[in-house]
Amino acid sequence: MSGGNAVELSGVTKIFGEVTALDNISLEIGDGEFFSLLGPSGCGKTTSLRLIAGFEMPTAGEVLIGGRAMGHIPPYQRPVNTVFQNYALFPHMTVHENVAFGLEMQHISRQDIRQQVGEALEMVRLPGMEKRRPKQLSGGQQQRVALARALVNRPKVLLLDEPLGALDLKLRKAMQLELKMLQDKVGITFIYVTHDQEEALTMSDRIAVMDHGLVLQVGTPHEIYERPATRFVADFIGETNLIPGEIVAINREVAEVELARGIRLKAPMVPGATVGRSVTLAVRPERISLAAAPGPEGMNLIEASVFEVVYNGATTSILLRLESGIVLTVRQPNIAFAVEPSDLREQRVRLVWPIEASSLFMEKTPVEQGKA
């Protein structure tokens, strides 16, 4: 990454009483990156953000901003600003006073403040709202004020704690794109906390997936989605079919997994896989197709019976049951669907997907053991 690291967490642990919120995590976030911390609630993503902002101090390890160790530097002396989940706009101040607050703290002249506040409000497309109070604004407008209030200080890093969580779906989608474009424009490093995997995939340059105080995987959205490092990541990001089985043969780069009596699927080898291990084979619903005839070499093939067909507009989901009882989902784009979905019901069909679309996870990987 050119330009060095904007933020670095090195071996950071945070313990609240008896709860370990962060367990020895290390992250490097590059200059100008849009970096997301993604995970379910309680995974430690917000705690990480609060450590960077300076609201909490690490129990062990170090937080570096712009290469400088933060130690016990209080929040008001750190070159970062935060957009809070509930916006935390000061209710007793107008929009102008809210946005001007940070500049006032830096003792900037009144004239400059007026100009910069105006520019910031323009940037978030809220000009002319200076005199309003936060209560008189809609949720989306409050969100923009919070953004302007943080960005006006030109921080090295902007921390965003689920800033879109309180907005309705449509507004959220629009704001996602707007935030992304804004970040391109200002060139500031964004660290974005969210539990919404779709949001993280849409906006981020890189994502850290967290669970139970651990970082499970760091990578681009593409890497995370296509090559999930753990079963948890595979399950948490997008939709996944998880098929349990046991490795029965290994030929160079391909492992063969038996589900039940003679039914076998193939998947690319992963380190640590040995014959006889219990594994889970994961495959995305959109990678599976319904086939009339057996596919060419290099494809997995399995029979299943359809028990439900759900029309979703852009796609159709087909729910199937394997002989072993495992339920699979197949998603087909509604481009040119050959058969009427209703005709499929109760049918026995063949499913095929490329071997490299499968991922293998050991049951009880070291990471999962660590969290148990």
Binding site: F16, R50, F55, E56
Partner: protein
């Protein structure tokens, strides 16, 4: 998160120290003195005997049927007043809570005004109404229904009426606070599930608004059981309650130790009641 709480460990006590010191000297210490005085003999001309002479005679005197009777009477009056205030106040609170939002704050204000009005002034208003020359007798005489004034005042009835009048707003306000928070669609849900109005009230609304009722009970019972002003003015010296009894020990009777013993007994009674309330309100709030 409470992560930013107490970094120095010294600032909290520093903020609290002035008030803590003040209350130690001017509230806790005086109570300790009451405790001590209740165990020493009185002086011949009031005050306490010098040098101090320990005794428990005042506590023995407390269980004299005469005084036990007054304690019981005070408790009985307080229970009666509390019951009347809560039973009449709850429906009033419901009425205010269910009236259209536009009317709600004026109605609430009608309860607030007496609450903020000088207690003496209101007690006096009631005394005037009931007195021999007061409004009720005046009206009855003018109507020719009676020929000489009825004695409506200076009896237990007038004291109870005065206390209800004085403490009624204390009962309405906390119950209103609970009822306002109560979600009326829960009543609809109950009736949808087949409960009639009575059952829906008893099984849904009352349990959920009970914290307000408990608060009302405490806010009325505690001051009433130790009341002095109302029994003194509305009872005219003819209705004895604990408050008037204690007052007499520090006035004409000049028996500070006995008055102290009585005060402690009253305090124990009240504090025990409040502790009981705190415990039961904790239990009540758990399922919510």
């Amino acid at each position: 998160m409470t992560g930013s709480d107490d970094k120095s460990g010294r600032r909290g006590p520093l903020l609290v120290l002035p008030a803590a010191a003040y209350l130690m000297i001017f509230f806790v210490l005086p109570l300790i003195i009451v405790l001590v005085i209740s165990f020493v003999e009185r002086g011949r001309a009031g005050g306490v005997r010098s040098p101090l002479a320990p005794t428990i005679q005042y506590y023995i005197r407390l269980v004299d049927p005469l005084y036990v009777g007054i304690f019981f009477k005070s408790a009985r009056i307080a229970l009666l007043v509390t019951g009347v205030c809560v039973l009449l106040g709850y429906p009033l609170a419901v009425f205010i809570g269910r009236s259209p939002p536009r009317l709600r704050s004026p109605l609430l204000m009608l309860v607030m005004i007496p609450f903020w009005t000088n207690f003496l002034v209101r007690t006096y208003a009631m005394k005037q109404l009931l007195g021999a020359e007061g409004g009720i007798n005046g009206l009855l005489l003018w109507l020719g229904l009676i020929h000489s004034p009825l004695s409506l005042i200076f009896n237990e009835f007038s004291v109870v009426l005065g206390l209800v009048y004085g403490y009624f707003p204390f009962a309405v306000l906390p119950m209103y606070a609970s009822i306002e928070k109560f979600d009326l669609t829960l009543m609809e849900a109950a009736s949808d599930l087949g409960a009639n109005l009575r059952r829906a009230f008893l099984q849904v609304m009352l349990p959920l608004t009970f914290p307000g009722v408990l608060a009302a009970i405490v806010l009325v019972f505690v001051p009433v059981v130790g009341a002095f002003i109302t029994p003194d003015i509305m009872g005219g010296g003819k209705v004895e309650m604990i408050g008037t009894l204690i007052n007499r020990q520090f006035g004409v009777a000049r028996n500070w130790p006995f008055g102290s013993a009585m005060s402690l007994a009253l305090m124990v009674m009240v504090v025990a009641g409040v502790l009981y309330y705190l415990r039961s309100s904790e239990e009540k709030e758990r399922p919510i």
